[in-house]
């Protein structure tokens, strides 16, 4: 065009007029097409005008397309916009005429040209769908979705494209997502808050319940947080320390500050351990009261846990065990003293046993010497001297004394032998046989006293004992029953045996002299004699008791002065 001569003003005016006419014509045509008034249109192409015909039947669709809320356009094979609806022009912020007949890729941003070309290619093959931003006249990029279909107009293929504005949807989706996220956050926060609140309420309820209960109990009670910080002390505690709640420095109200110095280290260690491990706390310690005195307390605490098993607080008590503790200490002291006494008595007993043995042993030599010397002297004396007064009775009395001395020593020797007899083997002994035997030995005494002896041992024919000792026991009891008879009545002696629980009881009952209560105590002592008219050593019952006790049994006596006595021997089986 630059080579052409410059047109004159008249030519320009004419051309202008022509263009305006063409423009008006185009406007009319477009209008006609859009309204369905025209069925065909001619588009000026490089190879001359091309005619596009619209079928009359399509008029209804065209109206629909014009009115719909989506952008719609038809593209020719060279991607020229053959048609577009008002909505699309509006979306692109252009006039219809600006869009129609333009190359559509002018609206496609550079970065999406390739994508667009791909969509077109696919579209021409049949169908395609995609999303891309388009540039409006103002330069803003607006997201759209496009969907393409090949249509045929008068055997000329065209590509029908529906363009949907996505910006609103995107925005809503974004907002929704944001809202959803926000809501989720809110929900979480709410749930958390609710849980915390519930936990707090539960904790408070538990604490309140605990304190209500703890207020009423007779012990000192307290609660602390899981870390050990005090949360509650009941009235008993304030009574104990002689302060009102809140009075004085806080530190003075804590039990840890009131521990006896001797107990503090161990007690605190125990408590710290419980706090660390959750193990129940139990300790005995002394706590200082309001007057500055210390009393023994039994301290106990248990953790209380929530549903998750976490410790929410510790509930503890202090129970005053002062009197109890002191009583225990007194008992302890008493027991120690008893043990000491016992040890001492055992030592004395051993000494006594040794003494008896040594005495009986060492006295033997001098007494047999005296006896020997007496005999020697007798041999030296002329018969006229030794057989007459006063030498004869003197010698007789000396012999008597020597004999008594010897007998006593014999008995002492027996006793000392008995002491060493502990753990003598026991065997089942035929009681009836032993009784028969003893009876034979005592027959002269039975005869002379006219005693009635009744024996019944069928219920317990055997006794676990040493036979020699059993004989000794039976002999002593029977001979005592006969010796200590009442002079004014016929002696009646009953010897019976029967099983009783784990023991066999041998019972010897007489109707003799009997004993008063005071003598009963001494009856089983060594060298105890209550009657001087009867020959006796005072050692028999002592020996009996020793024998029975050495074998794990015991002996008791029931007696009434002037009525008689009953001896009961319990042989353990």
């Amino acid at each position: 065009m630059s080579e052409a001569p410059l047109p004159t003003a008249a030519e320009l005016a004419r051309a202008n007029e022509e263009l305006r006419y063409q423009l008006e014509e185009a406007h009319d045509l477009i209008h006609a097409i859009r309204t369905g008034a025209v069925d065909a249109l001619a588009v000026q192409g490089t190879e001359g005008p091309r005619i596009f015909t619209l079928q009359g039947a399509d008029q209804g669709y065209r109206t629909l397309i014009e009115q719909m809320n989506e952008g719609a356009l038809l593209l020719s094979e060279d991607a020229t916009v053959l048609y577009c609806n008002a909505c699309l022009a509006g979306l692109l912020e252009c006039d219809l005429s600006e869009v129609m007949g333009s190359a559509f890729e002018t609206f496609v941003p550079l970065a999406f040209q390739e994508y667009w070309a791909g969509l077109l290619l696919k579209g021409w093959e049949g169908k395609s769908k995609g999303e891309l931003p388009l540039q409006t006249r103002s330069g803003a990029l607006v997201p759209f979705s496009v969907s393409m279909n090949v249509l045929s107009f008068n055997e000329t293929p065209t590509l029908a494209v529906i363009v949907t504005d996505l910006s609103a949807r995107r925005e809503i989706t974004a907002i929704r997502a944001q809202v959803a996220e926000q809501n989720a956050l809110l929900d979480r926060t709410n749930a958390e808050l609710k849980r915390e609140e519930a936990a707090r309420l539960a904790g408070e309820r538990a604490a309140a319940e605990a304190s209500r209960m703890l207020e009423g109990i007779s012990q000192i009670a307290w609660t602390v947080s899981p870390t050990g910080a005090n949360t509650y002390r009941n009235r008993r505690w304030y009574d104990y320390i002689g302060q009102a709640p809140g009075e004085g420095p806080g530190i003075g109200r804590a039990w840890r500050e009131r521990l006896h110095p001797d107990d503090a280290a161990a007690t605190l260690a125990r408590w710290d351990e419980s706090l660390r491990t959750g193990a129940p706390y139990e300790v005995e310690c002394r706590l200082r009261d309001g007057a500055g005195g210390y009393r023994w307390m039994l301290g106990r605490a248990q953790p209380s846990r929530n549903e998750q098993g976490e410790i929410v607080q510790w509930i503890g008590t202090y129970t005053d065990i002062h009197e109890h503790k002191l009583a225990l200490e007194r008992i302890d002291q008493g027991q120690r003293e008893l043990r000491d006494n016992n040890d001492q008595l055992t030592r004395v007993n051993v000494d006594l046993d040794n003494f008896i043995y040594t005495a009986s042993h060492d006295l033997k030599a001098p007494i047999s010497n005296i006896e020997g010397l007496l005999d020697a002297l007798l041999a030296e004396l002329p018969p006229e001297a030794s057989q007459h007064e006063p030498v004869q009775p003197i010698l007789a009395l000396m012999h008597d004394s020597v004999n008594r001395f010897k007998r006593t020593i014999e008995q002492l020797t027996d006793v000392s032998k008995l002491q060493k007899e502990h753990g003598l083997p026991t065997e089942p002994v035929d009681l009836a046989a032993v009784v028969r035997n003893v009876r034979l030995d005592l027959e002269p005494l039975i005869q002379s006293s006219g005693a009635q002896l009744e024996v019944d041992v069928d219920a317990a024919p055997n006794v676990m004992f040493s036979e020699k000792n059993l004989r000794s026991v039976v002999f002593n009891l029977l001979s005592n029953a006969l010796k200590y008879r009442a002079p004014d009545r016929v002696p009646q002696v009953r010897l019976r045996a029967r099983p009783e629980g784990d023991a066999v009881v041998l019972e010897v009952q007489d109707n003799g002299l009997g004993l008063d209560a005071a003598n009963k105590q001494k009856l089983f002592g060594m060298f105890q004699r209550f009657h001087d008219h009867v020959e006796g050593s005072g050692i028999g019952l002592y020996m009996v008791k020793k024998m029975v006790e050495n074998a794990g049994g015991r002996i008791t006596v029931k007696s009434e002065l002037g009525q008689g006595s009953t001896f009961l021997v319990y042989f353990s089986r």
Binding site: Y357, H361, K364, A365, N369, G372, A379
Partner: protein, 139 residues
């Protein structure tokens, strides 16, 4: 009865020795009676008189158990170690007051003629003579 050549009394109790001497003398058991007051003295006498068979080597030793310086058991231990030519012709009898069970075991394990409970009597002496010397006192 044939008398013993010699007898030895070992006891720290002078009265016992006196009475036993009196008894032995009265019963004419020996004309040669030696007395020692403890095991040590007895051991010296045995050493002196029994190295060679002499009339003063006792055929019978009556030995007390409890004595100062050297008691009966200690004497026996020392005696057993003496190299004597005619030990088997020396009879030792222990005299005790009462035998502690523990002492009974000890006595029985010793190589001695026997033991007697004090006091010594004619009957007891007669038993010893019968058992060890095959002779007895006249009735």
């Amino acid at each position: 009865m044939q008398k013993l050549t010699c007898a030895l009394l070992v006891d720290d109790d002078q009265t016992t020795n006196y009475l036993n001497q009196l008894l032995i003398k009265r019963l004419n058991i020996t004309d040669n009676l030696l007395v020692a007051l403890n095991g040590q003295e007895a051991l010296e006498l045995v050493k002196i008189h029994c190295q060679m068979a002499t009339p003063d080597c006792p055929a019978l030793i009556l030995l007390d158990v409890k004595m100062p310086v050297m008691d009966g058991f200690q004497f026996l231990t020392a005696y057993n170690e003496l190299p004597l030519p005619e030990k088997e012709s020396i009879i030792i009898v222990m005299l005790t007051t009462s035998l502690h069970p523990q002492d009974v075991d000890r006595v029985q394990s010793l190589n001695i003629g026997g033991f007697l409970n004090k006091p010594l009597t004619k009957e007891k002496l007669n038993d010893v003579l019968k058992n060890h010397f095959n002779r007895h006192l006249p009735e």
